[in-house]
Subunit: 370 residues, 4 copies
């Protein structure tokens, strides 16, 4: 990783126009760390700028002695000018609200952006302001147009738009895991639109690296608990995309739970089949057909249920489906690594598309096990 | 703990007739271990016989150097005659099917039984045989009458029957956690009877102490996964009691998940309110009213959700309720320690009632934390 | 628990002079929580005052909905006058340095104190100031005399002094676990004085409840690491008592490690036998003889090694010994629950002695398992 | 992965003579699984035969739905003839004793072998028979000559011999982690030869995938315990290499501990410096100098101590050193992933050398974090 402008001739595999240099902003949080690790192993893309506020001025090795990067770069204050000079793309992994302060300047300077926060996940700035009330109050966002232009970065559903996008809003971890199995059934009208229930479970790394009491090992270990019951922010994000794909407004129940593990996210989705005669095999066929050309999605055989360990450190979502013919109920299950397919890996998947590369480039699809 | 007949004058608090001597059969499994630990600290009841097949003939200290018992008893083959001679009650913690081979003999000898297995949880032997197919095939049970007489040992709902019962079938851990918050709403007709969904999460100790690959730390740690999706045995057990209380047949969805923790069980239950105007506070009031005289049940304030850590090692169920007025959905949450209120503690709670003691006698209701 | 002055006639088992009312200062940290839980189940002592700075003015149920206390007391600012009015004893569970600001006032008012911090663990204030440099710099302690008078609260070694003490400094968790197996061999001159090595392992709750990044589940789980290698503060505390008991100055190696579990502390101690002919059985006999009348110490048979799970939530230390005759090396192993026998339980054990009760009163010695 | 003979022209980077086809025997245990995962991502080597006894005849996807391999191979009974036909190398991951039944036949057929078991780690068959008594009794090994010829596969110390070896005995996980920091000091005569103490800590995956009660999550989680105290088999393996490098016989203390985590192994090594004036910086320089050209070894700055999480899923050993000048004691710390650098990764590192590739080819050196 050269922190000075790299000679593009050294990366002849990528078209000059598109570039391969990536700035990572918010480098020492979990999203940033994952992105850097993924880029370090990436055959085409290269991290060329490390940005951070609190860690600005420090050598990387001081911050992360366990993740040595070539030439031990210094973390810098994220100025749009410097980023534009040294990078073609920027991945922003910042607390909600902060990306919106930097993105307009980056786009003006023709840096293409993948934002891992929620700032551009809603088509409407108004809706964002309603969901992220606190953040909205302390900022004065007037980038409603950008919100409309941003592409929701779910590559299996929006690949062409992502490929040409200037601004991609990478989905949240819960929406990613929940929407992937659900969207095919909504789109094909196989399930009823109301009564959807998403019971989701996440490891604690989803809460980020900043120290919080309830995420201490002593508190979170040996315990499972629901949180944000009714009204969790990701509800509206899931509903937005579900409604778009279904073609009418969807309201659903979403309950997240905190699980005593570092990584991993499992979504268990309950829906009612329109046709009570559909079998689990039928529904399995639906998923397989929709995702057969998508390397980052795996569909398990009927009767095999996904463990989050099976996708740890990979950019894969593992899906499974079961049907209860007594109750006409469809049960969808979906496991992802919340920090990879649920965050940074999906960000790199978007970068790949934006850079004209196959979506899985540089992303592991096989887990270390156990 | 005297392994010989104790002089009942030393326990003057208990009526002679009812006795206080307890045989624990299946002593070295998790159910047996919990029962012994609870009895060791019990002010009135006393373990006077330790039964086990594989461990028969061994001193207790060889089996469990970490749980010293007074006089270091020898584990014995569980013969009905010996048990009847030395105990007033028997707690059976055996693999499904085996209790039914011992219970009739014990009852003949006037030993009152709390069975922790599923053998007597169904009113109908036929239903048991359908649900526990494999066990039924290898046995020739003809104790249908006993199945009808057995009392389902959920003390908050069946206290009087338990108090006078000869045979109590202690509920499974999932049914206990799921039914406690659900039954009041079914009984009062506040929720619709169909569309019930129970998404439950359990620690791995629920799988017992016998070594199984999927319960190894290396396999189960850092992972969450569903299992037994559609058709798990506890579905029918939950439906049986839910139907009885509701007054008509209930079919519901039950999905268990394996959580990387030793103990703890959380049930998240979704139902639809009949009256869309009911608030979370209203529903909280319902729970509080039903359980106000039940020391082993706690109802959390609206907005506080139960963590399984809050009930670890206690015989308490912590309940919470939330309502989504957009969708008229009721979300019930319930946390128990799967081996205490979900198994051995509930067994002792039943014993207490059978012995004429307050239900919580000798049972801790405050957790060690963290 | 009555927050107003209790009528001592209600606790006729305790002599009037000694009292049974306990103030717990620092109530919502882990040390305070444990102390309150232990007192809630204690047959003789009673928490009558809850003190805390940050939580002053709040109802207990707001702070700890999971640990309901009778009458839901309000946490109060810890003023010496109020404490003296309402309590006979005070247990202080405060960050290092803070106890020294309150203890002199409490002693003046005849409140007997058990301090769980390091403030009075050193006979010499100077040494404390050298070891706790930062704390010493921000305070102006001039209570050197109190440091000399304070009794080091290791009940198995200092019971008579504790019983009559006004101020007890409860030992650290590492010193407790390490000294218990080591002291008998030092006292009897069975091992060489130099070359002692203590390799210790602790759960993360030892780091307290305040949020710190390295104690997050995401950071600390699935990892083990040494910390404070060479020069950890507990080195000097261990050396002080080891030297006193050995009768000459001891310098030893102490290395703590952070283990991915909530509770538990294991000390593995290496020493060289003076008499190479001593066997593991001989050494086991030494330990058994020294501790035969101490209910809070268990000595395992040779070849059985202690797991911290075997003492979880108990006030027991489990010791084991092994000998390598090739190298004349003695290996001592010792497991405690760092928050019980390593902290709050030992504090209550001291309180018991101070109140004229058997040391194990109200303290569980049997673990819940698993 | 082609299960039929691959056309070597497709892998032009490897010399024809040396080959790139690898048989993995014992494919579904943890050692085999890691090897397959590593080979699946390897740019040059290829798994071309999957051998297993219990799983013979099954499709890979039945055994491991979570680790899809190209063409979904069938696991086969490991016959030497079939292996020789389809592979240039064989990695054996079998229970101790079994490799010795297959290796001679493989070598006769010019298959070069990396054995992950202990069968060929001792130069002397007699010593193996003394250490692995039970295995030796049930077998009739007469391959003493092979034991002498086998190369101990610690690549940082034996690279040239490994490169030309026919049979490599990959070291155990504990010896790997313990020897890497220790050998430089022994070789340079900087420490005393007696009094060495190795206190080691391992995750539970080191115990293998076969179900054992003490490795259940319910048993092993939330606990740390020593095992095999004095006389653990790895003691002799460590002593053998330590003695060879030091140039005279070394006897040391080795104590393993079981840590509640899936992976990771930390060795804390205590030695006495010959020159009491040496500082931690001096000793750090020693390590850095010895390992400066070894990409799979990292030496941390003085004062930074290795966490096993920092090397998880990598083939890296992270070393650190500290000195206590009061006691002239050297403390060495070393972290590895027990299944990668401690087992399968080191096996692939050996394969790389045998195939004429850089040692780190295809092996990740950067961790996913957290």
């Amino acid at each position: 990783m050269a922190m000075e402008r790299t000679n593009s001739s050294s990366t002849s595999g990528i078209s000059q126009a598109r570039g391969n240099r990536v700035a990572v902003i918010g480098a020492s949080g979990y999203g940033g760390l994952q992105t850097l690790k993924l880029l370090a192993a990436h055959p085409q893309l290269e991290a060329t700028f490390l940005g951070g506020e609190r860690s600005a001025g420090k050598r990387w090795s001081e911050l992360c002695p366990f993740l040595p990067l070539p030439d031990d770069p210094v973390v810098e204050t994220p100025s749009a000018d410097k980023i534009a000079e040294r990078a073609d793309f920027a991945v922003l992994s910042l607390p909600n609200g902060l990306a919106s302060q930097l993105v307009p300047q980056l786009l003006e300077r023709e840096v293409r952006v993948v934002d891992l926060s929620a700032d551009y996940r809603y088509r409407s700035l108004d809706q964002w302001s309603q969901v992220y009330v606190q953040e909205a109050q302390s900022l004065a966002r007037n980038d409603a147009e950008l919100c409309q232009q941003a592409v929701y970065g779910l590559p299996e559903w929006h690949a062409p738009a992502i490929a040409s996008a200037k601004l991609v809003a990478a989905p949240g971890c819960f929406p990613t895991a929940s929407l992937l199995p659900l969207l095919p059934f909504l789109k094909q009208g196989l399930i009823e639109n109301d009564g959807l229930i998403i019971d989701a479970k996440t490891g604690t790394s989803g809460g980020g690296r900043a120290a919080k009491e309830h995420l201490l090992l002593a508190e979170a270990s040996e315990s499972i608990a629901p949180y944000g019951v009714v009204g969790h922010r990701h509800t509206s994000e899931i509903e937005q995309l579900a409604s778009e794909v279904a073609g009418h407004s969807i309201q659903l129940q979403f309950t997240p739970h905190l699980v005593p593990m570092v990584r991993g996210l499992l979504s268990t989705v309950y829906a009612r089949l329109r046709d009570p005669g559909l079998t689990a095999e039928d529904c399995n066929t639906v998923l397989k057909a929709v995702y057969r050309h998508h390397p980052c999605i795996g569909v398990l055989p009927v009767g095999t249920y996904p463990a989050t360990k099976w996708v740890k450190h990979t950019n894969k979502a593992l899906l499974s489906v079961q049907v209860d013919n007594r109750t006409s109920r469809l049960v969808l299950m979906s496991a992802v690594d919340n920090l990879v397919k649920g965050q940074a890996g999906q960000g790199v998947q978007c970068l790949n598309l934006m850079a004209g590369l196959p979506p899985e480039t540089g992303l592991s699809l096989l887990p270390f096990y156990p």
